[in-house]
Amino acid sequence: MNARHVGPAHGAHEGAHARRIRGADAPASRITLTAVGALLGVLAVGQLNAQAGAPALAGRSAAELSQLIGNLTAGNDQLRAEVTDLDAQRAHLEDAHSRGETTVDELAADLARIRAWVGLTSVSGQGIAVIVRGPIGGDAVEDLVNELRNAGAEAIAVDGVRIVPGVVVAGAPGALSVENNAVGDTFEIRAIGSPQILTGTLNRTGGVIAEIGAAYPGAQLTVTPVERLTLPATDRTLVPAHGQPRI
């Protein structure tokens, strides 16, 4: 742009002026270019970071993040308790080994606990009973079972069938089944756990029962705390037939 003012008629002085303009512009341009380049770099990195973090937590609101933190904290508390128990078990076993003792009682207790947890033995305890009256789809029952698990249910049975990995309540309203057994329009879901937490979770405003009520207006669900429930063991074989333990 300035070069247009530099014509050959101005002779040597103008040549010097031209050099000055170009010479003065060159460092300025370099500085500008460097600054722009640096800004470009910062923005490009920022954009890449934004892209990488976007699917994770970046787009969550403060309320959503607080909810997530609450869940993670509760989960970590449970895991810490499990670590403490397992560590005590390990220490006891090591102690017994060092004294040359057998640990039959420990093994039997561990076996009973795992079998009860997974559903291979019947269990009893306090909890809730949900009576379902009216036609309802398998999806709604599965949503309810999922919500019970989320609320800390330790064992669940639908119409007398223990819910374990692989067991799904499926079918359209009026044609429900679980483990190849037909489920009528009136049936009971039983869950062992804290009656207060289970009841509160299911009955909360906008909770799973409200959602089911909206999706299946013909169905009525009643939640009742129960002092003592007994849930049966599963009939399923839970040991994998196709999968092998990883070494």
Binding site: A116, R149, P245
Partner: protein, 245 residues
């Protein structure tokens, strides 16, 4: 045209470079501003420590789970080394190992499927974000087709596993999972054939996946590795019944 080219040729290289750089800069600033728009409704100052807390808790959770898996492995080794291993005791070991396998406390490998669920592009009136319900439906269909073990993004599905939406994210076994979601299943060799003949699975693909533009891909594999369940197996309210099953 030739006049323009001639003018361009006369421009100093620095000016051309600077102009190009400024154009790119403009694009990047526009992209940055556009990217900030959906988040501008939230206070950045408020969210930053929350995000950090969530990330810290998640890291802590992963460490705790690794500790649990390691402790269980160590306990299994100690039990197997019991010096007084009489026949009755060996049977007890075998039963314990079988119970752990049944409960998903041991990682397994076997033939199966690997699904990948990814959000679609948001469209008018269509929820293209993969929800916990989408994951649950796929898991349920896999169970019904005969899967014998399933994991979601490395979280083994156990008898107590809930899959829930929390704050636009999915939690499985209390672990925060980000998309894409990889659902792996071990089962019979014809697991996929069984799955795709399920009316409910076809309805799910046509009614939800295709309609919302969600991406669902599947690989049929000779060997799928599933991790062990790393959560708690302690019972606080339920007690085993006295009579053996």
């Amino acid at each position: 045209m030739s006049t323009i080219l001639a003018r361009v040729r006369r421009l100093p290289t620095v000016q051309v470079t600077l102009s190009l750089a400024l154009v790119v800069l403009g694009f990047l600033i526009a992209a940055q501003v556009a990217g900030e728009k959906p988040r501008s409704q939230y206070s950045t100052q408020e969210r930053a420590p929350l995000i950090q807390s969530a990330l810290d808790l998640q890291t802590r959770q992963e460490a705790l789970k690794a500790q649990i898996v390691d402790l269980r492995r160590r306990i299994g080794e100690l039990e197997a080394q019991d010096p007084g291993a009489a026949e009755s005791l060996r049977q007890l070991y075998a039963d314990l190992e079988e119970a752990r396998l049944a409960a998903g406390l041991i990682g397994i490998t076997g033939p199966g499927l690997a699904f990948r669920l990814e959000d679609g592009n948001p469209g008018a009136g269509v929820d293209a974000v993969v929800s916990a319900r989408d994951v649950r439906v796929l898991v349920q269909e896999l169970w019904l087709a005969g899967a014998e073990a399933i994991s979601v993004n490395g979280e083994r599905i156990s008898t107590t596993s809930a899959v829930i939406d929390v704050g636009g994210s999915i939690l499985v076994n209390s672990a925060y999972l980000a998309p894409p979601y990889e659902i792996k299943a071990v089962g019979p060799a014809d697991l996929y054939d069984r799955l795709r003949t399920s009316v409910a699975f076809v309805d799910f693909v046509q009614g939800r996946i295709d309609r919302a533009g969600i991406s669902l891909t599947v690989a049929v594999l000779d060997a799928v590795d599933l991790p062990a369940f790393a959560g708690t197996v302690n019972l606080r309210y339920a007690a085993p019944e006295a009579s053996p099953q």
